[in-house]
């Protein structure tokens, strides 16, 4: 493609986005999709047209994993590096693919045809190994699929012409409760809410004791009340569909089969807090859902459920979808808002909180997909009914995304309070060694704790439930998570930017059998620092998996210790490799042994 063509495409994309600088991330995404990479000339054009400094545009492009200024190849393949999929052989499959294509992972082939690399969990843990090819999700990879895919890439066959069944994503709903069996027609819940009136509807949310399903478990009623009470000419509702926590895929299923419920929950939230606009932030990995979601929105508009003067009540509300571009930290609500404004996804200083100073500085309620869907049930059946389900402190039900060593991975809906043991029995897990509840930033639960309950007062969870049987090495699990955090740290604050890399390096050092007890002490020290000094939840929790497994599966670490004395992190003999290569020497003096 030539420079004038690039300019033409860029101009069209800018036009489609009304040359609105808050849409910078959307613009970059759309241009990338159209021309395959982001040439500097295009960034200059964007900066000029949006009246932004060039550095701002380049800074945003450099932040998101799916963007970036370098070329990615005509075909960009990104394997999900979730630990569950690694256990299912994703690394071997990826290596096989690279071998067949004669390329190194992470590098673009010399002819610019293809690159193959990794990306953080893409939300397909129940049907992996999965990958993204040019942003499209392919599930259930096998050696056969790898071989065929390589042939198609070599033949330069357009991705759109690839076998359709590769792109199939199944819901795998295994257990339904009040939410997944809601039985509501589109519009019913909104109608019920409007019949109650905004204040009374909000009172029902409070009475329902609904708590946020995104992980923190903050009271939804309080949040909406605070947002409603906050002064500001415009209020916003943001649906957090970033679902970046590895092992979590329940929002994917809600957005697939329950999109009306989610949008309706947003409308109810808007009605309660006095917002006229809602924004749904869809993680870039779920791009394949975009069309379906837009179609649902269109249908709701024609049904009079979105737009001006809904149901003749004077309530105006519409919803816009923004796509992410590969950044776990953008699930953090203030980073998400930055991203919605077209900026780098850096968490803000809090307070002020989004409920008073959110999107474009206006009062904003940010809620998880599931939280919003639950609001519909409360609109229909009332707060008292809802509060009676679950436990004292955790009302209602919770969707769990179950993956790993079990017979029936998928989505399970349980009233809060269910035990880990019960869930394990239901999903057909046996010889279970540990469960990682709520993903890497959550809690690692060992077998003697399987009587514990999934509820905010015991094991809080954003919905991930990763099962590891006796055959798994819990050190490898923690090492995978350490890599995840180092990859996903936004880099804003010192403790997390540097700390996540130090932790990753220490885990790799232990894994390479260069470790000593000194290194284990270092891990504990870094955990204490990051937990106390990091700027956001990512840094606070980044060491959880390491410390949890150190406390509960210490022998997995001790097996790897090389000596009691401090050892260098690298292989000494390897440190002479370049000099050996250049001098051609191989005598005894050209080698070194690590001490034993």
């Amino acid at each position: 493609m030539s420079a004038p063509q690039h300019a033409e495409i860029t101009d069209a994309v800018l036009g489609r986005n009304s040359r609105d600088s808050t849409r910078l991330l959307q613009i970059l995404r759309q241009i990338l999709e159209a021309i395959g990479h982001l040439p500097k000339t295009v960034l200059v054009q964007i900066a000029r047209e949006l009246k932004l400094p060039y550095g701002r545009v380049a800074g945003v492009a450099g932040f998101y994993h799916f963007l970036g200024l370098e070329a990615h190849g005509h075909y960009r393949v990104l394997w999900s590096d979730n630990i569950i999929e690694q256990m299912q052989g994703s690394v071997e499959l990826c290596e096989e693919m690279c071998r067949r294509l004669w390329i190194e992972p992470g590098r673009v082939s010399e002819d610019g045809l293809v690159s193959v690399g990794y990306t953080s969990c893409i939300g397909m843990g129940d049907q992996g190994p999965a990958l993204l090819v040019n942003g499209r999700t392919v599930t259930a990879m096998t050696r056969e699929r790898v071989a065929t895919m390589v042939d198609l890439i070599r033949a330069k066959a357009p991705v759109a012409s690839w076998p359709r069944e590769w792109f199939a994503v199944t819901d795998n709903i295994r257990r339904r409760g009040i939410l997944l069996d809601h039985g509501l027609d589109a519009g019913a819940a909104l109608k019920a809410a409007m019949a109650r009136g905004p204040a009374a509807m909000l009172a029902e949310i409070v009475a329902a004791k609904l708590r946020g399903r995104g992980g923190a478990g903050f009271s939804t009623g309080q949040k909406w009340q605070a947002c409603r009470d906050a002064a500001g000419e415009a209020h916003y509702v943001v649906c957090n569909a970033d679902e970046g926590e590895p092992g979590t895929f329940k929002d994917r299923v809600l957005l697939t089969g329950y999109a009306d419920l989610v949008f309706e929950g947003m409308s109810i939230a808007g009605y309660c807090v006095g917002a006229a606009r809602g924004l749904l932030y869809l993680r870039g990995e779920y791009q394949y859902l975009h069309e379906h979601l837009e179609a649902t929105l269109a249908a709701r508009r024609s049904a009079g459920l979105l737009g001006k003067n809904i149901g003749g009540s004077g309530f105006d509300f519409d919803i816009e979808i923004h796509l992410g571009a590969g950044a776990y930290v953008c699930g953090e609500e203030s980073a998400l808002i930055e991203s919605l404004e077209g900026k780098r996804g850096t968490p803000r200083i809090r307070p002020p909180f989004p409920v008073t100073h959110g999107y474009l500085g206006h009062p904003t309620t940010v809620n998880n997909v599931e939280t919003l869907a639950c609001a519909c049930l409360i609109a229909i059946r009332g707060g008292a009914w809802y509060a009676a389900i679950g436990t004292e402190k955790s009302a209602g039900t919770k969707l769990m995304s179950i993956s790993g060593d079990c017979a029936r991975p998928g989505i399970y809906e349980y009233p809060f309070g269910v035990t880990v043991a019960q869930v394990l029995a239901d999903c057909g897990a046996s010889d279970t060694q540990a469960v990682q509840v709520s993903g890497p930033s959550g809690i690692c639960v060992a077998a003697d704790e399987f009587g514990r309950r999934l509820a905010f007062e015991d094991l809080p969870s954003a919905g991930a439930f990763m099962v590891f049987d006796d055959g798994r090495d819990m050190f490898e699990v923690a090492r995978n998570f350490a890599h995840f955090f180092a990859e996903e740290s936004c880099g804003f604050c010192t403790p997390c930017r540097v700390g996540t890399s130090l932790v990753k390096n220490l885990m790799d050092k232990l894994n390479a059998r260069h470790g000593s007890p000194h290194d284990i002490n270092e891990l504990f020290k870094l955990q204490r620092l990051m937990q106390s000094a990091a700027h956001c939840g990512l840094g606070h929790t980044a060491c959880n998996p390491v410390v949890d497994t150190l406390n509960k599966f210490r022998p997995a670490y001790e097996r790897r210790l090389h000596s009691m004395e401090y050892e260098p992190a690298f292989d000494l003999d390897y440190a002479l490799s370049q000099a050996r290569q250049m001098t051609g020497r191989d005598d005894a003096g050209a080698h070194l042994e690590n001490a034993s």
């Binding site: 400094p53 880099g491 390096n505």
Partner: protein, 228 residues
Amino acid sequence: MSFLLDGEEVPFIPGQTIMEAARAAGKYIPHLCWDHEFAPHGSCKLCTVKVDGRFGAACTVAAHEGMNVDNRSAELDDKRRTLLQMLFVEGNHFCPSCEKSGDCKLQATAYELKMMSPHFDHFFPDRPVDASHPELLLDFNRCILCELCVRASRDTDGKNVFALSGRGIKTHLIVNSPSGRLADTDMAATDRAASVCPVGVILRKRRGFKVAIGNRTYDKAPISEQPQ
């Protein structure tokens, strides 16, 4: 209105942060990304204090009546030393050959906190030097990503010469030109951003060692005894 900082009473005006109140009272809280001229940023975390038992960044936490703030406790200084060591190993800091030595806030803070070694393994990143500008030199090897230059250029100079790009450990400072050269921006040596860098990244050319080592800012007195 007042609060306790290491057991001593510090007055404050509502709306002030702990850092601002401490500065007004002549008390030193270690910091790197904060400067009273600019909006708080909260990224270096050197100013981490304990407020009624909870950790927070003094440059971003508002002062409140009666609160009890630990500042120079052994526990906090220990954490700060580790943060400094992180900043040293993630970049390339060779003080003996750095023009900023003696005037450098990172170094002075490390002296104040008795940082005897970098402790961690060095990352030895490959970072560029930009000598394109006629009057200014950029040595990115020493950047601590405090964004003071970003704020100064944007908020004081109205220019946006600097920005961050990349993510995580690959986060890096860029300048506002597609060529990546400072000479191709509208940066002037008289800009506030030209003199704001607390470390040895943004340097005036040909000034070098004008003031001899030994007579520099932090040779005279430790950073904690100087006006902030």
